[in-house]
């Protein structure tokens, strides 16, 4: 952690809340006075003066342990020198303390050199082949605080190398200096104590328990914080040397948590991604999906435009030819655009502007998933006082509505877990059963499938409470209305958390039928005039556009003739969306060959996130911009392609670059006129299952069959196995035990899965939504709150 980071951690919060006065302590380090908040560790206070004390086990976000002894300094308290050098990572500052580090104390310097020499006696000299070589704290600090040559002439301890502690993390035990950062991270930060130190003495080693494998969603962080090359990522091992990589700060494109990231590229190829430092968001962590799911951009790519010829086959075409055919096909009266939830803010803005100017319609929706009018109205009237991560830190309780943080927005999970661990933060969840994530949070889980709206209404909250509304709450009619009412009644803060990284940005960019960019209501004439002026166009369509489902129905009926599609998997929307798409003229902007490009009339290749610049807006409403990590990519962003296409249609949108779009979005600003009014929707009566029936529930596990996780088998190796959660009494009725197979079916199809008995609502069952052998939307036509028949398979 850098010194800036330290300052950020301690700087006051900008909100109007009155922060408790922090007691300050003044001490002297190497002759310099420094004043720091009470409780600060000596090693941290020294950082403030720019004094770097060498360290390995110390990590500012983990509890002190004092194991490596590298940070020994001399300390004098009340004029009395402590008899032994002290580990500065474990000693809090005291008024008048006098600290002498290696810079001013020969004893401290010798102690540090001594520890360094000891650390190296059993460490192999394999730096030339070690992944960490070149960015290794041991290597660096051995140079700065150690001797050039070892006096050790004995035998080094050796181990068989490496061993897999999971499919994605490898352990070279002889390199390990036993700092316990990885085990402490897994226990204290992730709540997954699946690795521990075993054995003793020099044979001590990090180990796993075979019955509880190291299948933590956050395991990659252990690789990143390992101060030596003991833990390496299976996908990166031996792929590159750090000094051959070009690093670019980037933003994670997976979920709405909003992680700061770093992409490391060598010769045009992303070789690894690391968690960046953002104390206000992901601190220094990320999830394994964010870290390791990036190879989708390396395989199955579309590299040239394609058009469908007379025989119905897709063939490669030149850009001018493809653009001409696309422009002609889209120049019809009735058209629409589906953007998907993964595009950047700038790209979404391009789609929003393209729809209004080039397609002359408000038929645009970013929701490639369940979508309802209630949700669209809810989103159009989202409270503007955005909830932040820091609100979780201060909340008296956090309510999770149809939201599984560990699966759907893992960094929010980490933040809640931090507060649960630190101050026993109360967590209440409305969910069909207690997931592992919610169990770790100690959440009180209200299980009443079908009656969620009533349960929401009966929650007692205060103005210090935080309501986190998952995107899935929209799937329960009336529930979003209940959540809003609850927030209004209690004064609690409400945040909407979409699953995909681009949804919040697309909403703000106007890639939805009832809102223009900046949250301007389509129906508001003043809002339209505002935009007409900014865009220098004569008119903006005044009728709210269709939502995703309505667009698909119109396609089925033949009411829409042409469709522009961004990154959308039609099977995320519905089982038969693809049939409607086949009937229209489809222009697809895509990275990879997919079910959609198979039926598209024109396919225009676009850049992956690492190949372009842009920004994402996270669940807090905070924007994170990034530059292209692959600087010499020949791929064009969606925005650039849309701009070319609009030119070809002679209805230009004037957005040649991301920078131009970004500036235009900023100039437009947010709508400050009258906000739309939200009219609550009523709940519907729950369906009542008969004896052998159940209400199906589901969500997507973090690691599943998602498109952006493809081509990464090591990551997939730690995914949860597909299981159906049923209640104990249902298991008894069916005569099944854990692991036995059951069949879930309806008139459309069936799914067969092994059973896991859980504390689920007796009327319900749960299955993963997009995992191996479990894709209910495709197999059963519905993913949730639908009646299914459950029998022993």
């Amino acid at each position: 952690m850098s010194i800036q980071e330290v300052n950020r951690t301690h700087s006051g919060v900008g909100s109007g809340d009155v922060e408790p006065v922090v007691e300050m302590v003044t001490l002297t380090i190497d002759g310099f006075e420094v004043t720091v908040p009470k409780g600060t560790l000596v090693i941290r206070a020294a950082e403030r003066l720019g004094i770097q004390i060498p360290r390995f086990c110390d990590h500012p976000l983990l509890d002190p342990v004092g194991a490596c002894r590298q940070c020994l300094v001399e300390i004098e308290v009340n004029g009395r020198k402590m008899p032994k050098p002290q580990a500065s990572c474990t000693i809090p500052v005291e008024p008048g303390m006098v600290v002498n580090t290696q810079l001013t104390s020969a004893v401290a310097d010798k102690a540090q050199q001594g520890v360094m020499e000891l650390l190296l006696i059993n460490h192999p000299l394999d730096c030339p082949v070690c992944d960490k070589g070149g960015e290794c704290p041991l290597q660096n600090q051995a140079m700065s605080n150690g001797r050039g040559e070892s006096r050790y002439e004995g035998k080094k301890r050796t181990f068989e190398k490496p061993i897999n502690i999971s499919s994605q993390v490898l352990l070279d035990r002889e390199r390990c200096i036993l700092c316990a950062r990885c085990t402490r991270f897994s226990d204290q930060i992730a709540g997954d104590p699946f690795i521990t130190l075993n054995e003793r003495g020099a044979l001590q080693q990090v180990g796993i328990y075979e019955k509880e494998p190291f299948e933590s969603y956050f395991s990659g962080n252990t690789v990143q914080i390992c101060p030596v090359g003991a833990l390496t990522g299976a996908s990166y091992r031996f792929r590159a040397r750090p000094f051959d990589l070009i690093s670019t700060p980037s933003a994670c494109e997976h979920c709405a948590s909003g992680c700061d990231m770093r992409s490391d590229v060598r010769r045009g190829k992303t070789l690894r991604r690391l968690a960046g430092d953002d104390a206000a968001v992901n601190e220094e962590w990320n999830c394994d999906k964010g870290r390791w799911a990036f190879k989708y951009a390396h395989h199955n790519r579309i590299t040239a435009p394609m058009v469908r010829d007379e025989s119905g086959e897709l063939r490669e075409a030149s850009w001018p030819e493809a653009l001409a055919i696309a422009a002609e096909g889209l120049s019809v009266n009735r058209s629409a655009a589906l953007t998907g939830g993964r595009v950047t803010v700038e790209d979404a803005y391009g789609y929003a502007k393209f729809a209004r100017i080039a397609l002359r319609t408000n038929n645009i929706d970013f929701r490639a998933r369940f979508n309802s009018d209630e949700e669209r109205e809810f989103l159009a009237t989202l409270p503007t006082n955005s909830v932040k991560y820091s609100d979780i830190d201060k909340a008296d309780q956090v309510v999770l509505l149809a939201f599984e943080p560990e699966e759907e927005s893992p960094i929010i999970f980490l933040r809640i877990f931090k507060q649960v661990r630190k101050r026993s933060l109360k967590v209440v969840a409305i969910a069909p059963f207690t997931s592992r994530g919610n169990a770790k949070l100690g959440a009180e889980v209200i299980k009443n499938v079908g009656s969620e709206s009533a349960e929401i209404a009966s929650l007692a909250l205060t103005s210090k409470s935080v309501i986190l509304v998952g995107e899935r709450l929209a799937e329960i009619a009336g529930a979003l209305s209940s959540a809003r009412a609850l927030a209004e009644k209690s004064g609690a803060k409400l945040a909407w958390i979409p699953r995909r990284a681009g949804e919040r940005g697309a909403l703000e960019a106007g890639a939805i039928g009832n809102l223009l960019p900046g949250g301007r209501p389509v129906k508001d004439p003043a809002a339209r005039v505002d935009l007409q002026t900014a865009w220098s166009v004569d008119s903006i369509p005044s009728e709210p556009g269709l939502g995703t489902d309505q667009i698909l129905e119109a396609l089925h009926r033949g009411d829409i003739e042409a469709l522009l599609v961004g990154g959308v998997d039609p099977f995320d929307i519905s089982r038969d969306a693809i049939e409607g798409l086949k009937k229209a003229f489809v222009v697809s902007l895509e990275m990879r060959h997919s079910a959609l490009t198979d039926i598209a009339d024109v396919v225009l290749p676009v850049a992956a996130v690492v190949e372009k610049s842009g920004s994402f807006i996270d669940w807090q409403g905070s924007r994170r911009s990034f530059e292209a990590a692959v600087s010499d990519s020949l791929q064009r962003s969606d925005l650039r392609v849309l701009s070319m296409l609009a030119e070809e249609m002679r209805r230009p949108i004037h957005l040649p670059t991301v920078a131009v779009a970004s500036k235009e979005i900023a100039t437009l600003g947010k709508w400050d006129g009258n906000a739309a009014v939200f009219a609550p929707h009523a709940a519907i009566a729950p369906k009542v299952p008969s004896e052998n029936q159940a209400l199906l529930t589901s969500w997507r596990n973090l690691l599943d069959e998602g498109t952006l996780q493809s081509s990464e088998p090591n990551l997939a190796g730690t995914a949860k196995r597909s299981e159906c959660v049923i209640s104990a009494d249902r298991a008894e009725r069916l005569g099944v035990a854990d692991g036995d197979l059951i069949r879930i079916s309806n008139e459309i199809g069936s799914i067969t899965l092994p059973v896991r008995i859980g504390d689920i609502d007796f009327r319900a069952i749960w299955i993963p939504r997009n995992s191996k052998g479990s894709r209910p939307l495709v197999e059963l036509g519905s993913a949730t709150h639908t009646l299914v028949t459950v029998v022993r398979a």
Binding site: C68, R69, A111, V115, E117, L118, L178, E199, G201, A202
Partner: protein
């Protein structure tokens, strides 16, 4: 000339000394009756007044330790007895528990009452099966007698006493590692603060005391602080168990006032092995810097031993005569420390790994005289640099042996091997075929 003052060991020669009947016949469990009629704070004061200091090695005043337990905090308090005796040479708690387990139980009841603990634990070394059985039986007998459990002796005091058998790790004698082990974790020392008195077992205020410390309490209650303080020296009061082992004629436990000298103790033990003379000895187990025959008249109390450059430790007096190779003895101890290093911190874990190899080379006569300076420098990088005090114990015998016997190390190097006959130091010397 000091005389023996048998208190804890007074009745060890009786056949049934370990039974509740035998213990009571000799006046056992009378102190409990007396203590339960006293105010708990008065007991703490009495123990403070007696000057009793921890017999586990560090010599911290026992009454003061009890006084650190916050009172009226509405939290559970715990008493934990450290019976994980594992220091090479230390052998006082094991015979005490074998011969007189009830004196410990009586002490536990009184100490728990004083610190307001309703749960007490004895953490005992797993290897001493026979002792475990006796202590377990003694606990059961005490329960049957109403000395443990609910409403002890009708005085409204409840106490549950549990015997926990460790899995055999030297580190678990370190009090915080012991607590981790007792909680079911791997035994590794904890970061302090918080100290056990504030957050010990299960993060509750906890007193951790050595067996002998607690076992000394009933006699103090019974006979008073003044009686106890009348023995020993100015700052080291009372009687204690000295364990003589090695090359003396009659090794064993000698219960005497603090401040007695080794010369006196050796006399009591019948002298050094016939035909030999004292070469070196440890005042308190292998981790205390060794002494030589120059220290025969050093008073064996906390201050006297410290002034001579060592520590009283566990009063485990290991006696080595002139047949013993000091390099070899130190190597054996170092091998023990390497084997027992818990691995948590670098100096101990890596340092003992290196030390063993360095000492093996020296014992084999390999190396240069400068290697002795390197060895000392290495010890300097281990001593006082580790997480807990155990690495200091590993470095101590090496540093002190080099202080007194540097020439013997050099002799190894000049002769290219060990100048001693290892069989000569054994008790079976001359018996059978080598």
């Amino acid at each position: 000339m000091s005389a023996l003052t048998p208190v804890l060991s007074a009745f060890w020669d009786q056949k049934d000394s370990f039974t509740i009947v035998g213990y009571k016949r000799n006046g056992g469990y009378q102190a409990v009756e007396k203590a339960l009629s006293m105010e708990p704070d008065a007991i703490i004061q009495l123990v403070k007044d007696s000057g009793l200091r921890g017999r586990g090695g560090a010599g911290f005043p026992t009454g003061m330790k009890w006084g650190f337990i916050p009172q009226g905090d509405n939290k559970e308090h715990y008493l934990v007895v450290n019976a994980d005796e594992s220091e090479p040479g230390t052998c006082k708690d094991t015979p005490l528990l074998l011969a007189n387990p009830h004196v410990l139980i009586e002490g536990v009841i009184i100490a728990s009452y004083a610190i307001r603990a309703n749960h007490a634990f004895i953490y005992i070394r797993g290897e001493v099966t026979h002792v475990i059985r006796r202590v377990q039986q003694a606990i059961e007998d005490a329960y049957k007698d109403g000395l443990l459990g609910k409403n002890i002796r009708g005085k409204g005091f409840d106490l549950e006493l549990l015997l926990h058998v460790g899995a055999g790790a030297y580190i678990c004698g370190e009090e915080t590692a012991l607590l981790d082990s007792l909680e079911g974790f791997r035994g590794q020392p904890r970061l302090r603060p918080p100290f056990p008195a504030i957050a010990g077992l299960y993060a509750r205020p906890t007193v951790v005391n050595n067996v002998e410390s607690i076992a000394s309490v009933p006699s103090i209650i019974d006979k008073g602080a003044e009686w106890f303080a009348s023995m020993g020296t100015e700052k080291s009061k009372g009687y204690t168990l000295y364990s003589l082992s090695g090359h003396v004629k009659n090794p064993g436990q000698f219960e005497a006032p603090l401040g007695i000298t080794l010369r006196e103790l050796i006399d009591m033990a019948g002298g050094i092995r016939a035909g030999h003379r004292l070469k070196f000895w440890t005042p308190g187990g292998s981790s205390t810097p060794m002494f030589t025959d120059a220290h025969l008249d050093t008073p064996l109390d906390y201050e006297g031993v410290a002034a001579a450059g060592s520590t009283l430790g566990t009063k485990a007096l290991q006696i080595f005569d002139d047949t013993t190779c000091v390099v070899r003895a130190v190597l054996r101890w170092t091998e023990f420390y390497k084997h027992e290093s818990c691995g948590k911190c670098t100096p101990c874990r890596e340092g003992t790994w290196w030390l063993v190899q360095a000492l093996k080379n020296l014992e084999n006569g390999e190396g240069k005289p400068e290697d002795l300076d390197k060895l000392l420098d290495l010890c300097d990088n281990i001593m006082g640099r580790s997480f807990c005090a155990f690495a200091d114990g590993a470095a101590s015998p090496i540093i002190s042996s080099l202080q007194y016997f540097r020439d013997e190390y050099l002799e190894h190097l000049s002769t290219g091997g060990c100048p001693f006959d290892p069989a000569a130091s054994t008790l079976f010397e001359g018996v059978g075929v080598r």
